[in-house]
C-alpha cells in the first residue's frame, strides 16, 4: 500500500505539470480517445466520461506559470485565471484538448468562452449555462435540454452518440468518486492533523487531470494510508476556508494557513469534485437525474442565486457546525465579482451566528505569504484566547 507521502508526491507531480502530460498520455493510449477541458466551478463530468473522453479541469496556471501572452488579453483590473488560461492555450499547453467548456460562473469566464471560439476556432468551445430557477418543470426542463445538447455535441465529437447506459455507468463512477471525496472531507474534519489542507487540495487537484477511476483509487489509497499513520497534532484552531471556488490560491497560501495555526476543516476549493452533494440515481433518465441533482442537491456558492433570504449564507453556518469549526477565513481572488460581492452578506450571517471571521484577497500567483500568515496567525490566537468568552 502506498504511503501518504508517495501519494502526495504523485499528486504534486500532477499539480506541477503545466503541460498536462498525464492527460496527454491518457489520450495517446488509444487512438479514439478525446479530452474535454472545463473551467470552474461545475460541469457534469459524467457526460464527458460517458463519451470515452477525459474531463480535464483547467483552473488557471498557478504561481509557476509565467504569463507572457495572457496579459496582452486582459486589463490589470481583471482577475488572474483567464489570463493564465489564455497563456496555457496560446503557449500550446492545451493543444491536445478537443473541446473546452466554460461554465456559467461570472462575466469573465463567460466572455472567455467567446474569446476561445475566436482564438481556437478548430476546438469545440461551449458556454455551459445552468439554471437560476430551481423548479423541476422550469429550470429543470431547461437544464435537461442543455444537457441533451451537450451530450449530442460530445457524441458528434466522438463520432458515436452517447447512450443512456454509458451515462448511467459514468454516473455510478462519479457517485463513487464523490463518496470518497466526502469521506476524505469528513476524515479531515475529524482529524485535520492527519490530512493537511495542502494534501487534500493536491488530491482534489489530481482528480482534475486524471481519470475518475484513477482518482478514486488514489483517494482510497490515501484514506487507508492517512488513517494508518499517526502525525503530530498541533494546537491549531479549526477554520472553514471560503471564497476560493474559482481561481485557486497558491499552494503556499494553503500551507501558510496551517503553519499560522489554522487547521482547514472545510473549504470550497475545486468544488467540481463534490458539487453534487448526494448520489445521482443510476436508473431512469440520466439527464433528468443529473438535472435534479443540480437543482436540489448541489453546493451553494456565489455563482448561484439563493432564492430564500433566510437561507442566504446558511451553508457556511452549517459547514462551521458540521465540522466543529471555530471561525471562517474569506480568501477571495482579487477582482472576483461573485466572491467579493457575496462576502459582505456572508459576513453578516456569520456575525449574527456569532462566528468569527477574517478576510483577505489573493491572486493565483501571489508570492508574499507573510502578511497572510500574520493575519491568519492573529486570527488563530484570537480564537484560542477569546473564543467562548
Amino acid at each position: 500500500m502506498p504511503t501518504t507521502s508517495e501519494i502526495i508526491a504523485h499528486a504534486t507531480q500532477l499539480f506541477e505539470d503545466l503541460s498536462f502530460n498525464a492527460a496527454r498520455e491518457w489520450k495517446a493510449a488509444k487512438p479514439e480517445r478525446k479530452v474535454v477541458g472545463y473551467l470552474p466551478v461545475y460541469v457534469p463530468r459524467e457526460i464527458i466520461h460517458a463519451g470515452d473522453m477525459l474531463p480535464l479541469g483547467v483552473v488557471g496556471g498557478g504561481d509557476q506559470l509565467e504569463v507572457i501572452h495572457g496579459d496582452a488579453y486582459y486589463q490589470s483590473y481583471i482577475c488572474r485565471i483567464p489570463r493564465s488560461t489564455v497563456e496555457l492555450g496560446v503557449s500550446g499547453r492545451l493543444d491536445f484538448v478537443d473541446g473546452m467548456l466554460f461554465p456559467s460562473i461570472c462575466d469573465v469566464i463567460r466572455n472567455l468562452s467567446g474569446m476561445w471560439k475566436i482564438m481556437f476556432p478548430h476546438v469545440y468551445a461551449r458556454y455551459f449555462d445552468v439554471p437560476q430557477n430551481y423548479r423541476d418543470e422550469i429550470g429543470g426542463n431547461y437544464y435537461t435540454q442543455e444537457l441533451a445538447e451537450l451530450r449530442h455535441d460530445l457524441g458528434t465529437i466522438r463520432g458515436k452518440p452517447i447512450t443512456d447506459e454509458e451515462l448511467c455507468n459514468s454516473i455510478a463512477a462519479y457517485n463513487e468518486n464523490r463518496r470518497l471525496v466526502r469521506e476524505l472531507y469528513t476524515f479531515r474534519a475529524e482529524r485535520p492533523w492527519q490530512a493537511p489542507a495542502a494534501e487534500v487540495f493536491l488530491l482534489m487537484r489530481a482528480g482534475l487531470v486524471i481519470s475518475v477511476e484513477q482518482h478514486s483509487e488514489m483517494l482510497r489509497d490515501y484514506l487507508a494510508a492517512a488513517g494508518a499513520e499517526e502525525r503530530p497534532r498541533r494546537d491549531n484552531c479549526r477554520i472553514v476556508l471560503t471564497g476560493v471556488f474559482c481561481e485557486q490560491p497558491p499552494l503556499n497560501l494553503i500551507k501558510s494557513l496551517e503553519l499560522a495555526g489554522c487547521y482547514v476543516v472545510d473549504d470550497d476549493l475545486l468544488l467540481v469534485t463534490r458539487w453534487l452533494t448526494a448520489d445521482v440515481p443510476t436508473d431512469g433518465d440520466p439527464l433528468q437525474n443529473l438535472a435534479r441533482a443540480f437543482l436540489h442537491h448541489s453546493e451553494s456558492t456565489a455563482a448561484k442565486y439563493e432564492p430564500d433570504l433566510k437561507e442566504k449564507g446558511q451553508h457556511l453556518v452549517r459547514a462551521v457546525k458540521r465540522t466543529n469549526a471555530e471561525g471562517v477565513i474569506f480568501a477571495c481572488p482579487s477582482f472576483c465579482d461573485p466572491a467579493l460581492l457575496d462576502r459582505p452578506m456572508l459576513q453578516h450571517v456569520l456575525a449574527e451566528a456569532g462566528i468569527p471571521y477574517i478576510a483577505f484577497k489573493y491572486a493565483e500567483n501571489s508570492g508574499q505569504m507573510q502578511p497572510i500568515r500574520e493575519q491568519a496567525g492573529t486570527f488563530a490566537d484570537s480564537i484560542k484566547l477569546w473564543s467562548g468568552q
Binding site: Q75, G114, R126, N141, L341
Partner: protein, 438 residues
Amino acid sequence: MTATKIVTPKAAAKDVEKDLSMRKQKAMMAAHYDRITSAPETGSKTCCTFVPGNLNELIMCFDLLNNLPEVNAIQAGLRRASGNFVLEAEKIGHSEDVCTYVKSDIGMAAKGNIAPNGKKFPDPDVLLLSYTGCFTFMKWFELLREQYKCETIMLHTPYMADGKVTPNMIEYMVKQLKEEVIPKLERISGVKFDIDRLRESLKQSAKAEDDLVRVLQAAKAKPSPIDAYFGGIYYIGPIFGAFRGTEDAVDYYRFLREEVEARLAAGQGPVTPDGDMGEEKYRLVVEGPPNYTNFRQFWKMFYEEGAVVVASSYTKVGGVYDFGFRHDPDKPLETLAEYCLGVYTNRSLPMRIEMLTNYVNEYQADGLLINSIKSCNSFSAGQLLIMREVEKRTGKPAAFVESDLVDPRYFSAANIKNRLESYLQMVEQKRAGGRAAA
C-alpha cells in the same frame, strides 16, 4: 421644420446648450422621480429592476413604479455625488474591486437614499431580478434584498453564447414569466394581470423603438446630426428606463426624430454642451459605457477635436433594435423573452465583434475606440481581443482608454486626452497613407 436648439443662459445648468428634446426628457425624468418619492403618500408601490432586462411594460401592468438603481447611480455620477457613496460602501465592507454602480447605490442608501429631486426614495416593494448579460446584477439584488427585506423575483435570461436564440431559451423564460414572475407581481401589487394591457404597452414600445432606430441611424449621414455615444446616452434615457411602453415615450421619440431629421436636412452636426460641434473631422465607433463623473469633460475631449461618435455599443445595452427586433404585441411574453436575450451584453463576444465591425463599415467610421470600465467585467473582459479583431477585420485603427462608471478616482483626464489625441493622429496617418496609396 426649424432648428430646435434652444439657448437659455439663465437655466439651472448654465452655459450648457441643450436640444429641446433634452429639456423634454429632463421634465419627464423629474416627473417620474416625483412619482417615486411621493409613493408613500399616493399609495403607489415601487419595483426596482435593471436596464438590461427591463420589463417596463410588464411592470406597468401591475401599476408599479419602476425605479432603476443603475439610473440612480448614473444620476449620482452626473451630480458628482457618487464618489462619496462609493467610499461609504467601501467603509461598510464592500471591496474596492467590485462594480461601482452597486457601491454607489448601497452608499446612497446608507447616506439617506435621497433621490435627485432632494426627497427620500421609498424602500422598494419588490425587486424584479430580471438581469441579462451581467452576473453582478444578481449579487446586487441579493444585497438589496438583504437591506430592504422585500420580495425578490428572479427572471433568469440564458446567455446567447452561440449567437442564436433557441426554442429552449424562449420556453424557459416564458415559463418563468408565467409561473413565477406574473403570479408574484399580481400578489405583491394586488393587481390582476391583463394581457391586453401588456399588448397595448408593447404596441407603444414598438413605435418608440422605430423612432429611436431612425435617430441612431441618422448618424450614417455625413456630417452626422447626432453624437451616438455622448448624445446617444440622452436619447436612450426614456426607452431604457421607466418610459418604454408609454405614450410619453412615443411622443418623446417622435419629437426627437423630428428634431434630428431637421438637423440632418440642414446639414448640421450634433449639439454639444458648448453649442454646435463645428466641422466633423473624425467619425468614431465607441465600445463600452462612458464615465459619468466627468461626463462633460470626457465629451469635450472629443468635440474639441472634431470627433463625433457615429455608433456605440452602450446605446444597445438596454435593447438592440437596429437589427430589426421590435416588441411584438402579438406574442407578448415571447417578445419580452426575446428582448432580454438580445441586449448587447447578453451577446457573445463574437457577436459583439461582428456588430462593432459592421458599425465601423456601415457608419463609415475612421475606427473604433474602446472606453474600458475598471469595474465592469461584463463589458471589459475580452475588450482587448475585440479591439484587435475589429482592427483586423476593418483595416481601421482602434484604441483603448480606461476609466470607470461612477468612481471619480479612476478618471484620469490627462491620460485619456493624451491617448485620444494620439489615436486621432493615428487616424490622420492612416488617412494620409490611404491617400498616398491611391
